[in-house]
Symmetry: C2
Subunit: 354 residues, 2 copies
Amino acid sequence: MTSLSNLNPGSSARPTMRQVAELAGVAVKTVSRVINGEPNVAPETARRVLDAARSLDYQPDLHAGNLRRSDRRTRTLGLLVSSVDNPFAGAVHRAIEDAAVGRGVAVFASSLDDDPDREREAVAAFLRRRVDGLILTTASENQAYLEPELRRGTPIVFIDREPSGIEADAVASDNFGGAARAAEHLLARGHRRFAYLGDLHSIQTARERRRGFLEALGHGGVPVDDVAVIEDLHDSERAREALLRLLDGPNPPTAVFSSQNLVTVGALHALRRRGRHRDTALVGFDDVELADLLEPGVTVMAQHPEDLGRTAAERVFARLDGDTSPPRRVVVSTTLITRGSGEIPPPPGQSTRP
Amino acid sequence: MTSLSNLNPGSSARPTMRQVAELAGVAVKTVSRVINGEPNVAPETARRVLDAARSLDYQPDLHAGNLRRSDRRTRTLGLLVSSVDNPFAGAVHRAIEDAAVGRGVAVFASSLDDDPDREREAVAAFLRRRVDGLILTTASENQAYLEPELRRGTPIVFIDREPSGIEADAVASDNFGGAARAAEHLLARGHRRFAYLGDLHSIQTARERRRGFLEALGHGGVPVDDVAVIEDLHDSERAREALLRLLDGPNPPTAVFSSQNLVTVGALHALRRRGRHRDTALVGFDDVELADLLEPGVTVMAQHPEDLGRTAAERVFARLDGDTSPPRRVVVSTTLITRGSGEIPPPPGQSTRP
DNA sequence: GATAATCCTGACATCGTTGTCAACGGGCAG
DNA sequence: CTGCCCGTTGACAACGATGTCAGGATTATC
């Protein structure tokens, strides 16, 4: 009874090459050749195999093949972002996907919420699945734990954050320069009382922006002690509360810098709530949807997430294609978009320098 | 020379269980037991194995194991959305990821731009990777091609679109009812001249919204012929142009319904450009970031993408856990958020019904 | 017509892991 | 002391595919 192969019709088992081979009356290896478009198969044989494959709805098992294949490529990429829900990360993700899809590469994405523990787990989950490369918005202080993997030849590209404790490719915005330019923009309007609303201090990018902003203010003659620096604002709600407290305080800022998109949203809410949106200057880092339709429009240092994503993907694929040049750090410049909020001057009597 | 196993120190080759076994002085199967936490391993042996694994930076190959394992689970999910760049899709994605991560399941996401060809390719790419389940925002007219896969036991859940040509689980917003309620909301303010700005007619969801909107207008005594129905607006630029043409036309609408977030953004731009944002009513389907800070605030029929994503993931996991009940259609209701733009009355003299 | 080159095909080992089964050794009951 | 049980361990086959190699058929070459 069981000596014949399992040919029960309509069987719901997933067909394998063996079954396609049986149905087509050829050897498994011949099916493999046809499926992979290898040369030297008689057209008539190929047709029979394709017919059989189609009639069984056969889908090759990429991972089984990969196990034996010499190139050992899963055609899979792992992407770590703060959250797939964040518009910036979404744009990065899309650009990477666009670069990958043409090569038949699928993308895993994982949200970290900038939690170092989740980073380790997510990286391990990717490596267990043998991704061909990693693109990481890292959340950890130090990524030396990736060293062995890097030595094994897995391309690792850091995006939106510089690596630390490891030499690897990186693609990031000009955080320092962009934040500095934002500061200069506000200084030029005559502001002297600033607030800096920053993301988690543990995030390298956030520290760069802070440094850029404060150094530029220093060059403009504003002592750091006069700047209200508030950090660790990781979502819009916290940012809103923080700015509300400042606005209600004894010496509210005349100009506000918000260091990322969620913080900008929170700041906008706070200003609106206190009716201060027309007399308090605001520049945000990273662009925000509908920023141009608000009144006043929101001035931002726009990043170019598509460029970041595309460039990071190109780096990964270049490495996979054999590029063994030293790690490269690509800096993508930012663009100041003036829409009104950043051009608000300080109230009269407070604009002149001492 | 080659009789000894490859033990060159610092070798950059990826370690396998065999190498861990050699280093620990045990059989491969024992390593497997330790790595998978199977019982009946002497503590001392387990320690030696773990030490060896750690010192080699060993990561098990999930796919090799899966090949032999009886449950045949890759712990991987495939998600198809219109674009990972779209805020709605991002929220759905995040909710699915949150449900999956606890089970050790990783998520592939693919953007379709609502192109049926890309759908077929992306599904094939997922199936070749043997995802455990599919969550699809389908772009095709008919998904009967998934029938064999469904029979094989792969859970397939449609999200944000109803399946056609196949019986499968589906989770979607109340598109018809939500759009109808938007129409009623505008009718109640006395509007009689409407514009409907719709997404691609090929999208089932878009057709439902159109049907809901127009039927409700019909019940309100507004003949369909009096409604400016413009469809196939797939991005904000096209939506902006379309509404600009209407506003510049002989008989501009006093109330506008935009059928998804990108269209809403385009409509907002058009109204603003013509300075009509304070006297033309607007209700959008799907919420938009910062909608509450615009003047007037943007009234929307908010969807609940987190609920959609979470519910879809729950359906997939329930199926994987053995639920064989008939396919279920889950409808997630929508929520009207009044912020001003939808409460604008028609200009005097046009508000009364004939 | 003989020989070589080429095309087509299949048998077999193998990739890294797990399921099965059997063997070994020590503890314990009879 | 014998026999049984159980905890521990490893040998081996197998998962679904591809690389290697060899053999038979066909065609080209002299």
